[in-house]
Symmetry: C2
Subunit: 192 residues, 2 copies
């Protein structure tokens, strides 16, 4: 068993949009406006937000993340799903087969996604060099130890390896709040 | 080490009120209206709700739990605190020294609590008979194993023993949502 440390990045609900959907929501020829770089190289938070409309309610001010992707994807938390009445499964990013759809409204239009709403499965990004150093490989699962009065262990954290990544453990706000974590906090990771 | 099973009860934000505060918020001589018995004998959810007003925002529809207590206490989640800008500590119920206060508004009046806002520390209720059977005592800490794709271990779960209690593991909605739990689900508890 190996032990290493990684910073935690806590994601709130957000949406990734295709070029086609960016134009449908924000207008023809529209380009996203970057406000902040994210931990993963090339990924950024945008000035733009949209409204998600589910059968039970809406959530306004949902952040768009850039750059544009091939396929639009909505990442919600379990807490959100009770508000809007959509029941997404816990999935790895990009694995959208059989996931529920949702209505998305922007300043210039509204679209219906047939599928693409997920609760993102927790995962850890790293480079091939990190993976070698920590003796793990893409697709492995590791565990995370959380210290403190609300401490515990998060199991089944998917390892994702790419030269385009930076070392970062991605949890959502439900997980961050349940354990009282703050963004950037260093946590101990246990591999088998 | 011992292992036993207990059902989980997931608490959303709520408020316990003193007789004095019930009258200040709902009117002189007012009595709470029970809508549902809770897992702990004698405890119940009420028809009445109040609004919590913090420096950054308000939360409406906060459920009152009965019966009246000696001291009013507000139980929020970590998620809630970002909404309203109050920063409660994680505490055991009733340990309110040094906790933040808040404004509370009811249909007939508004009060200021000088203190009493907490994030309830996770705990497990049981009878003395349960405690004997499971070889634990009041004040012990146990761990909870969570199965499934978002599985893990919750450590430092306080054991609370009283003849007035029923066996029930109390988590809040952040914890329940982070692990994808449902009310009443049976979980494995590990004692040292």
């Amino acid at each position: 068993m190996g032990i290493f440390k990684a910073p935690v990045g806590i994601s709130n609900r957000h949406i990734h949009l295709s070029e086609e959907h960016i134009e449908a929501l924000f207008g023809a020829g529209y380009t996203l406006t970057k406000t902040k770089d994210l931990s993963q190289p090339g990924q950024f938070a945008c000035e733009e937000t949209i409204t998600l409309i589910g059968p039970k309610g809406s959530i306004t001010g949902v952040r768009v993340l850039g750059p544009a992707r091939k396929v639009s994807q909505v990442e919600l938390t379990e807490t959100d799903r009770f508000k809007i009445g959509v029941k997404p499964p816990v999935r790895d990013s990009g694995k959208l087969e059989g996931t529920p759809g949702i209505e998305v409204e922007g300043p210039k239009g509204r679209i219906h996604l047939d599928q693409g709403v997920i609760i993102a499965a927790r995962h850890i990004h790293m480079t091939p060099e990190d993976a070698t150093k920590y003796s793990v490989k893409d697709g492995d699962h590791v565990s995370v130890a959380i210290p403190g009065p609300r401490g515990g262990i998060l199991e089944r954290v998917l390892v994702r390896v790419s030269p385009d990544y930076a070392l970062d453990l991605h949890l959502d706000t439900d997980e961050g709040n349940a354990f009282g974590l703050v963004n950037g906090q260093e946590l101990e990771i246990y591999s088998k």
